[in-house]
Structure formats: structure tokens, C-alpha cells
């Protein structure tokens, strides 16, 4: 569990947004689990660090939250994307792809010539 890669600041926000986009409303524990699973257990999230990130996204208005009931009848706080959040996912995805492409060119120089 400990040998997974740490999640970089900023990337975590995008992962959260993307997770919420694909899964709909989800509570904190669910988001954490989902991120771990999606990464094929390569990433190790200290679940605690998720909450400040969630709070930040909420303060920025990309997500909202409300109390709900989980599948096995536990009260939990559910987060979901707002409209601004959806736009932000698109924007961030675009930017991320661009950055990734640029970095990729540097990493494989002979092909980019």
C-alpha cells in the first residue's frame, strides 16, 4: 500500500473532478477508493488529504455537497459537479492533454523532428 506513487498537488483536484464527472454524486471515501482503483492501485492516496482538496473545490464553486444515505444505509456527505465544475473539467483536461503532449515530445526527441 505504501509503495504507490504520491499524488501531486493539483492533479488530485483534476482526478476528483473527473471521478465525479464519470460517477455522479459520490462521498469522500468513495472518491478516494475510486481514484485508487482507477489508477490500478498504482497511486496511494492518504485519504485525509482528500478533504482539504474537496473543501477547496467547493470553495471555488466547482462542486457542491449535501448529506445523503449510502447503499448500506450510512449517512454520508455526497459531492457532485456544478456547471462551473463541468466546464472546469473540460478546461483542465484540455490543458492536461496539451501539457502531456508537450512533455511527450521532449521525452521522445528523434520522432518530433
Amino acid at each position: 500500500m505504501g509503495e504507490g506513487k504520491d499524488v501531486r498537488q493539483g492533479t488530485l483536484a483534476l482526478m476528483v473532478l473527473k471521478t465525479l464527472e464519470s460517477m455522479g454524486a459520490l462521498h469522500g471515501y468513495g472518491i478516494a477508493r475510486r481514484i485508487e482503483q482507477t489508477s490500478g492501485d498504482l497511486l496511494s492516496v492518504n485519504y485525509g488529504t482528500l478533504y482539504p482538496a474537496l473543501l477547496k473545490l467547493e470553495q471555488e464553486g466547482y462542486i457542491t455537497s449535501e448529506w445523503g444515505v449510502s447503499e448500506n444505509n450510512r449517512r454520508a456527505r455526497y459531492y457532485r459537479l456544478t456547471r462551473a465544475g463541468k466546464k472546469q473539467v473540460e478546461r483542465e483536461t484540455r490543458e492536461w492533454n496539451q501539457t502531456a503532449a508537450i512533455v511527450a515530445r521532449f521525452l521522445t526527441p528523434e520522432e518530433s523532428q
Binding site: H27, G28, Y47, G48, P52, L55, G61, A76, R77
Partner: protein
């Protein structure tokens, strides 16, 4: 961070409670969900919970991280830090009181002294363009900074290229008569440019014109705002009114602001134009009658540039008037330097001293805080285990220091406000410009800065300690693991305190020794039971020499006939430590010197036969004057030992003749008296003119008599307390002639004390600072040794239980204190040797490394330190082994 996020976080500061509760619930549900998952996959509930907490990374840490995002972190935690700090201060009132008092004393003393330095040295003089003002002196064989002759001044004024204006001024007192009681007014005779040079405008009326500042000009006067208020009720109709000054009728043409300050203070009452004066002596280029010159330099002209300009003029004048000006130079000093320059070295030494006191105060508070930080090590360890970062803990400790420092600073400021007044009231004459000293913005900023620097000074050590602490150790050992290191830090502080206290004691000791040396200097006269005063003779006396002589006789008799008067003499010319008068002379068997440079000068006293007794001079050989030495008998003169040795080395001067051309005398030397310290106990030996001659008042020729009339003094020897005689003197002279005014009456002991005022001021303050330092340092060493005893109480108990003698225990503890003191004293001695060299300017008659002072001070400090250690050592000696062993 977006604006919205920022606003939302700021809002978070205020509605944090509900949101906090919600987050608690959310965390709770998170953990439950996690446990549910784990249990479903077959884990025991206990193990599931453990896994969930590990995966979360700690509940407290998560909470803290979430809160950091939630509120504005720095601000919120600052509020919290201050809250904690305040609570900590309240929880421990003893610690808080002692620290606050220590800091308030340290900061208060610093602020008070800084406000003096600020008012006197830093603030510009209260004139527009004050930085362009300079005082010009005539440099000659008599003095580097001598008075200027009027004719030379006129040439300087005309020929200079570097001053916008240049003006002459001369102190002059006026008898105001004709309206009620005759009154003595302080005043100046000034040239027309005087107020324009200082850039001072009248509040009413106008200033002098050039036409009024010359022979034959109309008699006009300016009055000061104070006189205007008290005597004329601030009425504008004062313009054009007449006033009789020294017997002449003047017309008031203007009023100078009451706030006008010149040298010794406010309250100058009258100014008259100087150029109206047509006395031949005044208009003799060789004679400077107490005239001083001030100039306002053109913008952009430096003092050096102005000096070059004046040098050029001095050369030209020497060419044109070789008889008067050959060898004469001109020296320039900035006005401020001239006004406050003498006090600067004293104030700077005092400022350094008071800085040391603050250093000791900080070391003491740091020690107290260290002691507390150790006691609180567990608290900190716990808090840090609960999620507080080390940075956060350090910040909290520093907030406590700053809160302490600022509160102490506030108290100190209040102390300073009163302390400054007290300090100046203690010795009013010691500091020039003292009326300008106040707690202005700069002083407040200084106090704030000092408080903050002090806070960091004493807060850093305990904060660093927390920074370096290994939490696990601290928790395990319940804080005791820190004790060893803490003791080392405390020891270091005590050594610093002892060293600093020693430096201050040496400073104070050197000042005390200087004053002692000065007091034991023989002034050459006997100040006990003697007093002197000045007499302004009635204005309508006229200039008939016979009249003047008769009047002097009457004055003498009026004073002599008072009960309790043993001897008295009228004095013309110089008066020891109060006024000087020099004359050129040459030996009767030598030709008249051809140039100014070859001329010899001597101090001159015109006295009556009883002067020897009244002043208490020591007659070395020959005789003093008698009633037989009159205007009709052969001319005689008495010289002092210095004169005899310098001008008649290896000869007996008695029977020899000297030539005093300006007095038109060729007297024969009939006696030698002891040297009098004319220039003050401390500076006489370095004065340019030290030789002295005494001439019988009656033999002063008729031509000079009108000048004598302008300023005579009297010296009186009384049978008892001379101060009590002063009112009787006034009455006697008033009944002799109602228009005569007595002023400047002072016992000769007061005159000597006054000449040492600046030194006494420094000595008293240095003494206070040193005492403060010693008290603080003793508290410091007492605290450390007490702590040591507390720490080792078990060990001591064991030792006693195993048979150690109580005396051994005492020796053990005292030895520890003694070792610390020894290191402190050693360090301090080296430091004091280096620093006391800076005091050379202000000490007298004692070397800056005076072994007696050092020895006395070292012994004193060690004795006090041992005493401070004795109290806890006694406690250690009395430790009951049973109690000690049961302890914990």
C-alpha cells in the same frame, strides 16, 4: 486563489462552529464506510478500524489540514496564538509580572534616554534651514574659538562669498527702569542681519534695518514674546512704546516669537542693534568684546567650502592689518555642533550603557521563558502529537514573546514619559535644548522597535529549543531530558549578564572616580563660605571716572558693612569659572613684540586688597595689595605661580616690571599667589591662556573706568552660610541705590558644581543603570542556582543520606555559582577594558583601565553574586533526605 475562494475562506473564520461539526460528522462517516468495506472483506472490526485510521493518515492531522484550508490560516492561527499567549500570561501571574517589570524597566530606560538623545542630538534645531547655520570664531593665541572683534566681523560680512547672511551678537543685560521696580532683562545686542540669518520673523512689527544698526541710528528695540505677554498683556499697541534700558530711551518696534530658542533656552527678553555702539574699545580691531558671529551658508555650500572662503579672508586681513590680525584665523562650527557638541559624548556613552541594561533584562526574561518552556515540554509534545506542526509551536512561543515584549514596551513608555521629566528635573543645567525633549513619533517608533527586538531577543532561545526537541524523547522523559541542555543555555545567559553588569559597573565606577578626582582638584581658591554676584550700576552714573570710583567705593562699603561679611572685593575683568578677560603684555626688560603672533597674553583681574581673603587665595611670596596702593602710589601687580614659572623661569619675578599697554600700566611685581583654575577644574590645564595677573582696582586708569562700569562683580566671604547672605546683599545694594541691580548671585561651591553638571548627570545616570544591571544580574544568577537546586534535590538528598556533610552540599552549590560568576567577571573585565576606552573623552584624572576601579567593581559584583547564590544554597543544605528521596 480565486476571489470567491478567498471570500469563502474569510467567511469561514466567522461561521466555523457549524462547519466544524459537519466535518466531524463527515470524518466519522468516512471511517465507518471504510470499516464496513474492510469487515465485508473479512477483517475483524478492530483491525478494520486500525486500517481505516492508518489509511486516513491520522484524524487530528486531517482535521488540521482541513482547517488550514477552511479559515485564512495565518490570521486564524495568529488570533489563536495570541489567545493562547494571553491565557498563558494570565495562568502564570508571577512569571508575567516579573518579566513585564524587567522589560518595562529596560525598555523604559532606553526610551527615556533615547528621547533625550533624539531631542538634543538628532532633531534639527528649530530654525528653517538650520543645517546651513554656522558659528564663526576668531582663532588666535588665546583660543581656538575666541570672540570676534567688531571691525573684523564687518570685513567678514562684506568679503565672504559663501554666506547669504552673517550676523554678530553679544550677550547684554539691560536694566529696565522708569516703570515700577527696576528690572534686569536678559538680552542680546545684535546686528541687523541677526534674525534674517536665523530665518526668524517677528510676530508683530518689524526687524532692525541697516540704518538702525550704525552709529547715530535711532534707538530701537525688539522684545521677546514672553516679556510682551507678562509686561504688556500681548497688546499690539506695544509698537512705538518707549522703554528705558540702561538709562537710554528705546522705542519698541517688534516682537520676537516666544518660541524663539537660542543656546541656553527660551526667554531672551530684549534685542538692540549693536552697530550704534561707538565706544573706541569696541571699535578697536585688536579687541573682541564678547562678540560672536553666526552665518547662514548659501544653499549647497558645505562647511569645508565656507572654511576655505573664510581662510582666504583671514589671509587678506592679516596682510591689511598686520598689527591686529597677523596670526589670526577663523574657525567654523555648525550651529548644532556648537550648541550640543559638548554633551554628545556623554549621551552616547549613556545610550550604550542603557542598551546593556536592556540586554541583561532580555537575558533574564529569556531565562524565565526557558524555564517555562522546559516545564511546558510535555504540553508541546502532546500538542504536536495531536497535529500541531513544529512551526506552529515556534510561532506560538514567539507570539507569547511579542505579546510580552509589547506589553512591557507599553509600560516602559509610560515609565519613560515620567522618567525623562524626572531625569531632566534632577539636573536642569546639564543638557542644552532640554525644553525640546518630548516623546515624539520617532521616540514611539524607537520604543516599538526596541520592544520587538527585545521580544525576539528573549523569545528566540526557547523557541529554538522547541524546534530542536525530539518529541518522542520529550514525551517519554516527561521533559526532564531537556534539563541538561537548558542548564547550559541558562549558564550562558548568566555569564552574559554578569559580564554586562561588570561593564556597566566599571563605567559608573570610572565616572565616580573622575568626579572624585575633580572634587579633590584644588581650584586655587577656597569656595567654602564664599559667594559672588554681578552688579549692574545705575544707568545715569555717567562716565566721569571720579564718580565711578566713588560709586564703587559705596558699593564695597554697603556690602562690607553687612553683618556676617568677613571680607569683600569689587572685581573688574575676569572672575574664576564665570568670565574671562585677557590682556597682552610684555616683560619690562624686553622690547614690545612686533606682531600679534609674538604677543603674550595673560588673564587679568582688577581687584581690591581684600580679594586675597575674600577669594581665599594662597599667597606664595611677596605681598598682596593694601589700601596704600592707590592711584597716586607706584604701580604694582601680583602674578600667579604659573606666570612666574612661565615668564620668569629660574628668576625671582618680584621687583621686575611688566608692560600692560592696553591698561596704560607699567607695574612692578610685588607678590606671587597660587594658580587659580580659571577655566574649570577639568579643562584649565588645556586652556591656551593660563597665566594670571592681579591689578589694584584703584590703579586702573581713568580712561578704562567707563568700561569697568559696564560689568563689575563682587566676591564676598561670609562667616557662615553664604547662600543665606544673598537676600541681604540685594537689600543692602538696593538701599544704597534703588537703580542698582544684583544678579547672578551664587555660592562659589555652586559655581564649581555647575561647571561639573554634565559629568554629574552622566555619573548619576550611569550609577542608576549599573545598579539596575546588578539587580537584574543577581536575579538571573539566583534563578539559575535555585533551579539547579530544584533539579538536583534528589541527588542532594541521596548524598546527605549517604553521609555527605551539609557544608559540602553548600560548597557544591556555591561553587557552581562562583564558577559562573568567575567566568562572567572574567569575560566582563576583558570587555570593559575594550569598551572603557570609548569613555576617554568624559573621564578625568583616572585611566580608563584604572586597576582600583576594576578591582573594587569585581569584588563588589562577586560579593553580590555569591549572596544571590547563598539563598538557594542554604535551601540545598537543609534538604531533608527523606523528603527528597520520596519526591516524585
Amino acid at each position: 486563489m480565486s476571489l470567491r475562494s478567498r471570500l469563502s475562506r474569510l467567511a469561514g473564520l466567522f461561521r466555523s462552529d457549524r462547519r466544524d461539526r459537519e466535518f466531524e460528522a463527515e470524518l466519522e462517516s468516512h471511517i465507518q464506510l471504510h470499516i464496513d468495506d474492510c469487515v465485508r472483506s473479512g477483517m475483524s472490526p478492530g483491525e478494520a478500524r486500525r486500517q481505516a485510521l492508518i489509511k486516513l493518515g491520522g484524524i487530528e492531522q486531517t482535521r488540521e489540514a482541513w482547517r488550514q484550508q477552511h479559515g485564512v490560516p495565518v490570521l486564524e492561527s495568529l488570533v489563536q496564538d495570541l489567545h493562547y499567549a494571553f491565557r498563558a500570561m494570565r495562568k502564570n501571574p508571577g512569571f508575567t509580572c516579573i518579566s513585564l517589570l524587567t522589560l518595562a524597566l529596560g525598555i523604559g530606560a532606553n526610551t527615556a534616554l533615547f528621547s533625550v538623545v533624539n531631542g538634543v542630538l538628532l532633531n534639527p534645531l528649530p530654525y528653517p534651514h538650520s543645517e546651513r547655520l554656522a558659528i564663526l570664531y576668531q582663532k588666535s593665541a588665546i583660543a581656538d574659538q575666541g570672540a570676534v572683534s567688531y571691525l573684523n566681523f564687518l570685513d567678514w560680512q562684506r568679503q565672504n562669498e559663501t554666506f547669504t547672511s552673517m550676523a554678530a551678537f553679544r550677550q547684554q543685560s539691560f536694566n529696565l527702569t522708569g516703570e515700577g521696580e527696576p528690572t534686569r532683562l536678559s538680552g542680546h545686542e545684535v546686528s541687523a542681519d541677526f534674525f534674517p540669518a536665523l530665518n526668524v520673523k517677528p510676530v508683530l512689527g518689524r526687524l532692525f534695518t541697516a540704518d538702525e544698526d550704525r552709529v547715530g541710528g535711532a534707538p530701537v528695540a525688539l522684545i521677546g514674546g514672553g516679556l510682551w505677554k507678562t509686561r504688556y498683556g500681548s497688546s499690539p499697541s506695544v509698537l512705538g512704546r518707549g522703554m528705558t534700558l540702561n538709562g537710554e530711551r528705546y522705542t519698541i518696534i517688534g516682537v520676537i516669537p516666544e518660541s524663539f530658542l537660542f543656546y541656553n533656552g527660551y526667554g531672551i527678553q530684549v534685542w538692540t542693534p549693536i552697530g550704534r555702539w561707538n565706544d573706541p574699545t569696541f571699535r578697536d580691531r585688536r579687541i573682541s568684546m564678547g562678540l560672536n558671529v553666526i552665518g547662514c551658508m548659501k544653499p549647497g555650500i558645505t562647511l569645508d567650502r565656507a572654511r576655505q572662503d573664510m581662510d582666504r579672508i583671514a589671509h587678506a586681513l592679516a596682510e591689511t592689518y598686520p598689527d591686529a590680525d597677523k596670526g589670526m584665523g577663523i574657525s567654523l562650527v555648525s550651529f548644532k555642533q556648537d550648541m550640543v557638541g559638548n554633551i554628545a559624548p556623554f549621551l552616547l556613552v549613556l545610550l550604550a550603557a542603557v542598551g546593556f541594561v536592556l540586554m541583561i533584562a532580555c537575558a533574564n526574561v529569556a531565562n524565565l521563558m526557558l524555564a517555562r518552556a522546559t516545564d511546558r515540554a510535555r504540553e508541546f509534545a502532546l500538542r504536536s502529537a495531536l497535529g500541531a506542526t513544529q512551526g506552529r509551536l515556534v510561532r506560538q512561543l514567539l507570539s507569547e514573546s511579542v505579546l510580552l515584549g509589547l506589553t512591557g514596551g507599553g509600560l516602559g513608555l509610560a515609565m519613560a514619559a515620567n522618567g525623562t521629566r524626572f531625569m531632566l528635573a534632577l539636573l536642569p543645567d546639564a543638557v542644552p535644548r532640554s525644553q525640546e525633549i518630548s516623546l515624539d513619533f520617532r521616540v514611539l517608533m524607537f520604543a516599538l522597535a526596541v520592544s520587538l527586538i527585545a521580544s525576539i531577543g528573549f523569545g528566540l532561545a526557547p523557541a529554538l529549543r522547541v524546534w530542536r526537541t525530539n518529541l518522542t524523547d520529550a514525551l517519554k522523559e516527561g521533559g526532564r531530558g531537556l534539563a541538561g541542555r537548558r542548564i547550559r543555555a541558562q549558564n550562558a545567559f548568566v555569564v552574559i549578564e554578569m559580564a554586562t553588569a561588570l561593564v556597566l559597573l566599571v563605567g559608573a565606577g570610572l565616572m565616580i572616580r573622575s568626579l572624585g578626582a575633580l572634587w579633590s582638584v584644588n581650584p586655587g581658591f577656597d569656595p567654602r563660605h564664599a559667594l559672588s554676584f554681578q552688579v549692574a550700576m545705575q544707568p545715569d552714573l555717567g562716565s566721569d571716572p571720579a564718580h565711578i570710583r566713588a560709586e564703587l567705593r559705596k558699593i564695597h562699603d554697603a556690602v562690607r558693612n553687612q553683618p556676617g561679611v568677613v571680607a569683600t572685593s569689587v572685581v573688574a575683568g575676569a572672575l574664576p569659572m564665570q568670565g574671562d578677560s585677557e590682556l597682552p603684555f610684555w616683560r619690562g626688560d624686553e622690547p614690545k613684540p612686533a606682531t600679534e603672533a609674538e604677543r603674550k597674553w595673560t588673564l587679568f583681574y582688577g581687584v581690591e586688597p581684600d580679594y586675597l581673603t575674600a577669594m581665599g587665595l594662597h599667597l606664595v611670596s611677596g605681598r598682596f595689595f593694601s589700601e596704600m596702593d592707590s592711584e597716586h602710589s607706584p604701580q604694582v601687580v601680583v602674578v600667579d605661580e604659573y606666570f612666574a614659572h612661565k615668564y620668569f623661569p629660574g628668576e625671582n619675578p618680584i621687583g621686575k616690571q611688566i608692560n600692560v599697554e592696553l591698561l596704560d600700566l607699567k607695574p612692578e611685581i610685588v607678590g606671587i599667589v597660587g594658580h587659580v583654575k580659571q577655566w574649570g577644574l577639568d579643562t584649565d590645564a588645556t586652556a591656551k591662556v593660563q597665566s594670571q595677573i592681579y591689578v589694584p582696582l584703584r590703579q586702573i586708569p581713568d580712561a578704562v573706568m567707563p568700561l569697568v562700569r559696564n560689568g563689575i562683580s563682587m566676591v564676598v566671604r561670609a562667616a557662615n552660610d553664604p547662600g543665606a547672605q544673598i537676600p541681604a546683599m540685594r537689600k543692602a545694594l538696593a538701599s544704597n541705590n534703588a537703580q542698582q541691580v544684583v544678579y547672578g548671585a551664587e555660592t562659589l561651591e555652586d559655581v564649581i558644581a555647575g561647571s561639573l553638571a554634565a559629568r554629574r548627570f552622566s555619573m548619576v545616570l550611569l550609577g542608576i543603570f549599573a545598579a539596575l544591571a546588578v539587580v537584574l544580574a543577581s536575579i538571573g544568577i539566583y534563578g539559575v542556582i535555585s533551579y539547579l537546586v530544584g533539579q538536583r534535590i534528589q541527588e542532594i538528598g541521596t548524598r546527605i543520606a549517604l553521609g555527605a556533610q551539609r557544608g559540602d552540599v553548600m560548597r557544591l552549590i556555591l561553587g557552581r555559582g562562583f564558577a559562573l560568576t568567575l567566568i562572567g567577571v572574567g569575560t566582563g573585565s576583558v570587555l570593559a577594558l575594550i569598551l572603557s576606552r570609548q569613555m576617554k573623552k568624559i573621564i578625568y584624572g583616572v585611566s580608563s583601565s584604572d586597576p582600583a576601579t576594576f578591582a573594587a567593581v569585581i569584588l563588589l559584583l562577586m560579593a553580590i553574586a555569591l549572596l544571590a547564590c547563598y539563598v538557594p544554597a542554604r535551601r540545598a543544605m537543609r534538604v531533608d533526605p527523606m523528603v527528597a528521596l520520596r519526591y516524585e
